[in-house]
């Protein structure tokens, strides 16, 4: 983790993260160009490659609410962003884990653009404003998917085990 590149507010929906009109674009290699496409300031900053991998996007409450579209996750994963938000909508959180987007729930998290934010133990620490917040651990059942390297790898392993058993 590192520098905060974006601070967005509460209730940032998947319609905002990945607008519906780009939904026919499905491949994770092609979706990043449309991240926050309705917000020229954000989108231009990404496409101009002004946001180094590992940069942080700080969200408020209910981040990723709305549609189940996985493009909203793959478009952020493509830029190798880390998401830290007060709370995260269920489907968005599951999709993030499944695709390996680095995502952290830290209720109350506050930051400004340019702040240095890191995870230290079970806390998110903002070294610029000196504050810290507890990290809500992922559901243990989901950790197994992260440990396997994402849901494709996890499912492949399970499928091969089932095949071996006949």
């Amino acid at each position: 983790m590192g520098k905060v590149a974006f601070v967005v507010g509460d209730d940032v929906s998947t319609d905002v993260i990945y607008p519906g009109r780009y939904m026919a674009t499905v491949l994770p290699t092609e979706t990043p160009q449309y991240a926050f496409a309705n917000d020229p300031a954000l989108n231009n900053k990404l496409n101009a490659k002004l946001v180094p991998p590992g940069s942080v996007l700080v969200g408020g409450k209910n981040f990723g609410c709305g549609s189940s579209r996985e493009q909203a996750v793959s478009c952020l994963k493509g830029w190798e962003l880390t998401i830290v938000a007060s709370d995260i909508s269920r489907i968005f959180l599951q999709n993030s884990i499944n695709l390996g987007l680095n995502i952290i729930t830290a209720p109350g998290v506050e930051a400004s653009e340019g702040d240095e934010v890191v995870v230290e133990g079970a806390k998110v620490v903002n070294h610029t404003n000196g504050k810290s917040w507890d990290v809500v651990p992922l559901p243990p059942a989901r950790q197994a998917i992260i440990d396997a390297g994402g849901l494709i790898a996890f499912t492949r392993k399970r499928m091969l085990e089932a095949q071996a058993k006949g």
Binding site: C65, N95, L160
Partner: protein
């Protein structure tokens, strides 16, 4: 200790004697539904098998349903090519529950699943669409997942690592006043719980109002449960569920309702009396920004939208037609109507509603998701306002971040079309 509906369904689907909220289970999936995003599901599904030397074949094609609705007919070569790729997959694997772009059997996925009897009480239903919560209206545990998770279901036939959710009981009593109904109820619920108030939880609906409500109304209520963050909404199956499945969906095989125990453990209970409920409006730009019509009436409206998986069924069109019949859509306002399915469209033709709408100046569009998600048609201009019976009003939802969307019932939408401003249908025009 008593069990909720979702605990009972997940225990059965996981082959366990009992489960409780917080347990992690792998339920067998009874229905696996996708729409155009099946193009991404196919991509992820093939990737699971890549390099294994094993031929990719779904675990049980009889449980897969694919329905084209989000962009019908295709608006771009890219969408058309995605749809073509899906058709080829459907042909190769002989997927019978496939609903292509057709005037007879086509429609919105959340209308087709109940209409064709694909969903039954007690089932586990997953769909690559957040409004898959709809099917809880038939007493199933039904929730939205992403495309990669669906690819996993196609491979293994189970939903992996599902945490049994806690349940909030919503007890609804009282009789709706004139021009107030299920949409107003669910908007009120979302406004009360807030947009993340039910995140990771299930809403289980009870009370005399729910018992008397038609399956169509229950579908609207469960559909928008996700707008409070809920994993699913559930109305425990009852006589109305059986009536709907037998009489409207043509189901002939046994139906086994799953009902909660009297001493089921709920996270909390919310009671609502609908007898004093006014028509409810979700104001821009969040679905939980809900106000009674009396506080927002008079807002100038440029586009009225009636339809969607929330309110595109025949009773919704009836409510709107009854208000607009013999009147005109106001100058400066345009009105778009899109029935939820080919079957609903046919019925609307037979009952004369389509004529009522067209004579009033409305445009009746083909069945599908229409303008709801801003990908296809019915876009809004800068600073324009839409009043819509759909389910989301997020910034940019209808295609333009410089526009505003108010969500309401079909009655409010129709009354507003005539007046050209957001209007209370109880006041007449």
């Amino acid at each position: 200790m008593g069990k909720t509906v979702v605990e009972k369904i997940l225990a059965r689907a996981a082959g366990l004697p009992a489960v409780s909220a917080g347990d992690v289970v792998e339920p067998r999936v009874d229905v696996a539904m996708s729409h155009e995003n099946a193009a991404l599901v196919i991509n992820q599904f093939l990737e699971i098998y890549e390099g294994t030397g094993i031929e990719a074949h779904p675990w049980d094609v009889s449980k897969i349903a694919i329905i084209f609705d989000h962009r019908v007919p295709a608006e771009s070569p890219k969408t058309a090519s995605n749809q073509k790729k899906i058709r080829e997959f459907v042909d190769r694997h002989k997927i019978a529950r496939f609903h292509d772009i057709r005037g007879d059997v086509g429609g919105i996925c959340h209308q087709i699943l109940p209409e064709y009897g694909y969903v039954r009480p007690g089932q586990v239903v997953v769909g690559t669409d957040s409004h898959t919560t709809s099917h809880g209206a038939l007493g199933a545990f039904s929730f939205g997942i992403g495309a990669t998770e669906m690819a996993s279901v196609w491979t293994l036939g189970v939903a992996l690592n599902i945490e049994v959710p806690t349940t909030i009981k919503i007890e609804v009593n009282g009789e709706f006043g004139p021009h107030v109904g299920p949409k107003d109820l669910i908007l009120h619920v979302v406004g009360t719980l807030t947009a993340q108030g039910a995140n990771f939880r299930v809403l289980e609906f009870h009370g005399e109002t729910m018992r008397k409500m038609s399956t169509s109304g229950r579908l609207a209520v469960c559909n928008m449960s996700v707008e409070a963050g809920a994993t699913s909404g559930i109305v425990p199956a009852d006589e109305e569920t059986i009536r709907y499945l037998r009489e409207e969906a043509g189901v002939t095989d046994p139906i086994e309702p799953v009902v909660p125990d009297a001493d089921a453990v709920y996270e909390r209970v919310v009671t609502i009396d609908v007898s004093t409920l006014e028509p409810q409006i979700a104001c821009p730009h969040t679905v939980d920004n809900v106000k009674p019509i009396s506080e927002v009436a008079g807002v100038k409206v440029h586009q009225i939208v009636i339809g969607s998986c929330t309110n595109g069924r025949i009773d919704d069109l009836e409510a709107a037609a009854d208000i607009i019949r013999g009147k005109k859509v106001a100058q400066g306002t345009r009105m778009l109507v899109f029935p939820a399915s080919g079957r609903v469209f046919q019925e609307a033709l037979d009952r004369g509603y389509v004529s009522d709408f067209m004579r009033a100046g409305a445009v009746v569009m083909n069945a599908g998701c229409g303008p709801c998600l801003g990908v296809h048609e019915g876009a809004l201009g800068d600073n324009e306002v839409a009043v819509s019976t759909t389910n989301r009003n997020f910034k940019g939802r209808m295609g333009n971040p410089k526009s505003e969307v108010y969500l309401c019932s079909p009655a409010v939408a129709a009354a507003s079309a005539v007046a050209g401003v957001l209007s209370d249908p109880r006041k007449g025009n």
